[in-house]
Symmetry: C2
Subunit: 323 residues, 2 copies
């Protein structure tokens, strides 16, 4: 494999903790260059040292500030931290936001921290695969902690939570209506709840509400604790880090971490297969076929199901010719 040997210098440098190699490897992944699968393939068997923490919750819950504080705390312990911040794209900002920029300038000065913001750009499922790939690279680089931060409560958040070893769901007193938070599926993915901005009115009530929802939970192994924090004042951060460590220990003892990582591997295989299929399928000819059909949309005689059938037949013929 030509591309494999092209990457080998990059792989060696990355595994040795070279920051330039890290930036280059992440760019490769983000730009979907062909050689990125080779790179990811080569580093894969070196992974598993970094611990992955997912931080999710509704907009405005203070996730960025919390990630900031956790990072500072980890840095005090001389741990390396990689951060993947996932943002749905805004047409105004291209996915990078003023708030993030401010934050980044603060902790990005630290040599032991690497931050990468990623935007969705509207691709279904594609983002969670990429975020996971970037996490792999941050792991290979030798980071002790990889933090996956996502905004919102949609499908991509659930996907990214699946990529984490411990998932922290951040809520605020105003975001409950905790019932609404439950509705958003956050209960399902939380290993730990953080009620942030806990100095605000309604914090006790929100705490009680989350607690009573949790009592209905059928989670057997690990009952997610609820912690309070005031992230912008650094309150509650040490307790969060302690609880993450407890959850990590618990999972190691129960062999759950390995199970979780197996599931992650399975999911990864599925997404690689999907990605490769789509790359092979959606060539120029397929797009042309579809364009021609869409051109005559007004007089459309074919449903999308028939058009799909035709494209699939074309694809099979293409595969045969290649054999």
């Amino acid at each position: 494999m030509a591309s494999s040997s092209q990457n080998s210098g990059l792989v060696i440098n990355l595994l040795q903790g070279d920051k330039r190699a890290l930036a280059k490897a992440i760019s490769l992944v983000e730009n979907d260059e062909d050689s990125s699968s080779d790179l990811l393939n080569e580093i894969y068997l070196k992974l598993g040292r970094g611990y992955r923490i997912g931080i999710t919750g509704p907009p405005g819950a203070g996730k960025s500030t919390l990630v900031d504080q956790l990072t500072k705390e980890f840095r005090k312990q001389r741990k390396g931290v990689g951060i993947v911040a996932v943002d749905p794209t805004s047409p105004f900002t291209g996915g990078a936001l003023l708030g993030d920029r401010v934050r980044m300038s603060e902790i990005a000065m630290d040599e032991g921290v690497y931050i990468r913001s990623m935007a969705t750009r509207g691709s279904v499922g594609g983002l969670s695969k990429k975020a996971d790939d970037v996490a792999d690279i941050l792991d290979a680089f030798g980071n002790d902690y990889i933090i996956l931060e996502t905004v919102g409560v949609g499908q991509s958040e659930l996907d990214i939570a699946e990529s984490a070893d411990t998932t922290v769901v951040v809520l605020v007193p105003e975001s409950g209506d905790s019932v609404q938070a439950m509705k958003a599926g956050l209960m399902e993915i939380a290993d730990l709840f953080v009620l942030n901005k806990a100095d605000r009115a309604g914090a006790d009530q929100a705490f009680t509400e989350i607690q009573s929802m949790l009592e209905l939970s059928n989670k057997k192994d690990w009952r997610p604790p609820i912690l309070k924090s005031v992230a912008n004042q650094g309150e509650g951060i040490a307790e969060i880090i302690e609880t993450i460590a407890e959850h990590r220990d618990f999972q190691s003892q129960q062999n759950l971490l390995e199970k979780k990582r197996k599931q992650r591997l399975f999911k990864k295989i599925k997404s690689i297969v999907r990605f490769r299929f789509e790359q092979a399928f959606w060539d120029e000819t397929a797009y042309k076929t579809i364009d021609e059909t869409l051109e005559s949309y007004r007089n459309l005689k074919m449903s999308p199901y028939k058009i799909a059938d035709e494209l699939i037949e074309n694809f099979k013929r293409k595969l045969e010719r290649k054999e």
Copy 2:
């Protein structure tokens, strides 16, 4: 096609507005039965009468109440309304929520309204396809309006917005930090903003914030208006309906509606292709191969990339044998 003739009675009844046929057709789609693509294929060329309204926004914004009020208003005009409410799954409720149930019992008594709640169940991309399919069926049934209601601000919401002719983004004074709402990509998809619970403190400030973000917008054709409402008191509903009608007229005049529906068709073809591929690919043998590899995960010598390659080779061989 055997299944096609099996469905023809169902198709006829559905197109004639039979409520039982509607329920049955939706069940077919939701349960992924093979005959559902045949059904969808048969009805496809009969579509386009119903107008699709997407309602999205952060949890707690009052979307359900708003949908309720819009529906009641449409019903006063003797219009048929179909509602697809998309919910991320909660392990406690299976995706259906107390609030929804209360609501449903209120407007579900109306013969001219059909409501279907759908849960994500963790499938990537699958839900938006299904919601779109259900919308097709509600359209074929003869509904004048199809309302797609989604909670949250993630990828699935963006997908579902793409399925709508007019997308209404619902915000509340407390949900801004409007900057956070922008971050969530809601600006990109909004044809119309509704600031709900506008009788609460901070409404004017939130209104101004949304307004100034919109001034930065590069949307050329249609500048999304911002309306205020107090949905649970029925305030502002008439204006919302009027603005939706204006947006509809605008799009018709500018030929934008056809363009939007073309894009929807294109997206649909892509998702059908993906769905069919995954159905063909992930057979028992593929799962077995993957299980065996995962069993030996501890001593894993293969990266997921190599495993994916192997599965793809197996799949190609399977296709060849079938030819």
